[in-house]
């Protein structure tokens, strides 16, 4: 492998819910662990993953999400989806998910982002999203590169694997 060109992974992270923030970070750190070059383009709601103000507050909503497992494994009944409409249920579902992740010894989202950066993963922050969502540049995690789609596609043009999440 040493003589070969390093493999490259290009990811688009477009979603900002807690569950969907994990997938790009898991793939990115795994690829970096295999000595691949990795870049993630954070766009639309995915931008929240690298926003210092919002990365700690990502949530998962039970309403319209039939994949949510039963909160108490001993009671194998799914909570009726309509219950998710009750105020506070998103908070409850988010707390459950965080406890599952903690039990599996998975890092939190901010810890994952920091770990990815330490491993050399490039974080491309979509400049258009920042403008549209009214995010301050100071709110971006240090080291993230503020770029447009063109810069990301230039990076992705040489990728061996490209995924949109």
């Amino acid at each position: 492998m040493a003589e070969q060109k390093r493999r490259r992974l290009a990811l688009v992270a477009s979603k900002g819910s807690l569950d969907e923030a994990y997938s790009p970070l898991i793939l990115a750190t795994t690829a970096a662990a295999m000595d691949w070059e990795v870049g993630i383009f954070f766009t639309f709601y995915g931008f929240d993953i690298i926003s210092k103000k919002r990365m700690n507050a990502l949530k998962v909503a039970p309403i319209g999400n039939p994949a949510m497992p039963e909160p108490i494994p001993a009671v194998p009944a799914k909570v009726p989806n309509i219950i998710g409409i009750i105020p506070g249920m998103t908070h409850v579902a988010t707390a459950f998910m965080k406890s599952w992740m903690g039990r599996a010894n998975l890092p939190s989202i901010p810890e994952f982002v920091e770990m990815a950066q330490e491993m050399g993963v490039r974080l491309f922050a979509c400049a258009m999203t920042m403008g549209v969502m009214g995010v301050d540049e100071e709110d971006l995690v240090e080291g993230a590169e503020l770029v447009g789609a063109t810069t990301f596609l230039d990076f992705a043009a040489d990728a061996d694997v490209s995924l949109y999440i």
Binding site: M1, A2, R7, I26, T29, T30, A32, A33, M34, D35, W36, A104, N105, L106, P107, M115, M119
Partner: protein
């Protein structure tokens, strides 16, 4: 494992799930010398195919793999 295989470093990642064992082992392998052997313990059921894919991608050598009671022991020689 043959009795003469010398282990230079052992790490225990039981209780960790993907991607953490691979993320950690990618750092551990840099802490031994080229030619030395790292022993890694894991109980994530995906760790066997994952470790095989990891050595394939990184060019290190899987010297031996053992499983007992749901616990895997991987012996990886640093190749570069």
């Amino acid at each position: 494992m043959s009795a003469e295989l010398k282990v230079d470093k052992t790490v225990d990642y039981k209780g960790l799930f993907c991607p953490m064992p691979i993320v950690k082992v990618s750092k551990d392998i840099k802490e031994i010398e080229v030619g030395q052997v790292l022993e890694m313990l894991a109980d994530d059921p995906g760790s066997k195919p994952d470790m095989e894919a990891w050595v394939k991608q990184t060019g290190h050598e899987m010297v031996d793999t053992q499983e007992e009671g749901g616990v895997f022991r991987f012996y990886v020689r640093r190749n570069k």
